[in-house]
Symmetry: C2
Subunit: 218 residues, 2 copies
């Protein structure tokens, strides 16, 4: 396996955690090897795409044999730093934030919300779904205390940029942003925005396009 720094296309990178999940499934099912076709069927991704993605990581498979499951597992675990725990802070415990606290990524033992912040918290903090919740004035102090690099942002839109500005002086390097606000951040912070209205609108647009295609064809 090549150990050079990897230059992986972004589209491939985004599929890495998904590959890891499914290879874990194959491993848990006791499979020793897996073909790109089997992965394709399980993941609903074109097998040519899978082979092309895997080719970026060097020679991971053998023709007529497929891929060694344990080898893949070790590769993805290392690549995704799955051995390292990531402590996550949740900012904003409204209805969406509450859902994340309850869910708390149980399936990912290495990623966990360990602390949360909300304007409703009492001065000494309170517990929700076994997670300590502090008032916003404690943001910088507690982020340092818990060694947080990643936050999930589920505050109201009007508070989003203000909270983000305060994160700039902390150890936070990534924000999973569920507000519809496009956040301004320095280059040292990564933002990934999931805007549920936009996701819904995009799906509607694709459906309407499908309908037109069907109408034209009929």
């Amino acid at each position: 396996m090549k150990q050079e720094p990897l230059k992986i296309p972004q589209a491939t990178t985004k599929r890495l955690p998904l590959y890891y999940r499914f290879i874990q499934n194959f491993s848990n099912a006791g499979k020793k090897r897996v073909s790109s076709q089997e992965l394709s069927e399980a993941m609903k991704i074109d097998s040519a795409t899978i082979r092309r993605d895997f080719s970026h990581f060097g020679a991971l498979g053998k023709k007529g044999y497929g891929y060694d499951v344990q080898h893949l597992l070790a590769f993805f675990r290392q690549t995704l730093d799955q051995d390292e725990e990531t402590n996550v802070a949740l900012i904003g415990v409204g209805s969406l934030g509450t859902a994340f606290l309850k869910y708390n990524f149980h399936k990912n033992h290495n990623t966990r919300i360990v602390v949360a912040f909300d304007t409703s918290a009492t001065e000494d903090g309170m517990m929700l779904s076994d997670i300590p919740v502090f008032e916003p004035s404690k943001l910088e102090e507690k982020i340092q205390e818990y060694g947080i690099e990643l936050v999930i942002l589920t505050v109201p839109s009007r508070a989003a940029q203000e909270v983000t500005d305060r994160l700039m002086t902390t150890s936070v390097k990534g924000i999973l942003n569920f507000t519809p606000v496009r956040l301004t951040v320095p280059d040292s912070i990564r933002v990934h925005t999931i805007d549920l209205s936009v996701e819904l609108q995009t799906l509607i647009y694709f459906i309407k396009q499908d309908e037109e295609t069907f109408t034209h064809n009929s």
Copy 2:
């Protein structure tokens, strides 16, 4: 404005609802025209990308003038079918489903959850956040009654494919899937999966890559 069927790249298509949102903001702020640079700053998207995206829709802007806001607004409204209402069904009223019911896309007046389903519903149905919730046995009947084409799927993983199979015989054409299951559907149904663990893992991976880059450079 060209009225031919549009051949728009998928990456561009995914940005359409976002463009629409921001052009609405400019319109609401009383702006008559907007430059790609202004849009770029507001949306945090490269202005060259914006100009390239807009070029796919034909001649929407003029050099040295920028884009006419009302013209853009009319164009995106028509393209995104914003004049048409879309009734959405929510399947699975757990913590994430409850968050969606409460939120219910208030900002998008043309998209609304109008009916929900959950195993906890009583035989005659019940109201949650002003939305009727029915038991799963009523799925096909109520989807027809409410004229549903789009569902948001927030059921437990073990129920995801079974529910999806039942949707195949209905009018549903799109599924916004929040379960980690890769759903099997016929070509007539579009699925868009938002897997929160995967989104989080991907962000962590990018952060770790950034860290390595910074370390190598220092």
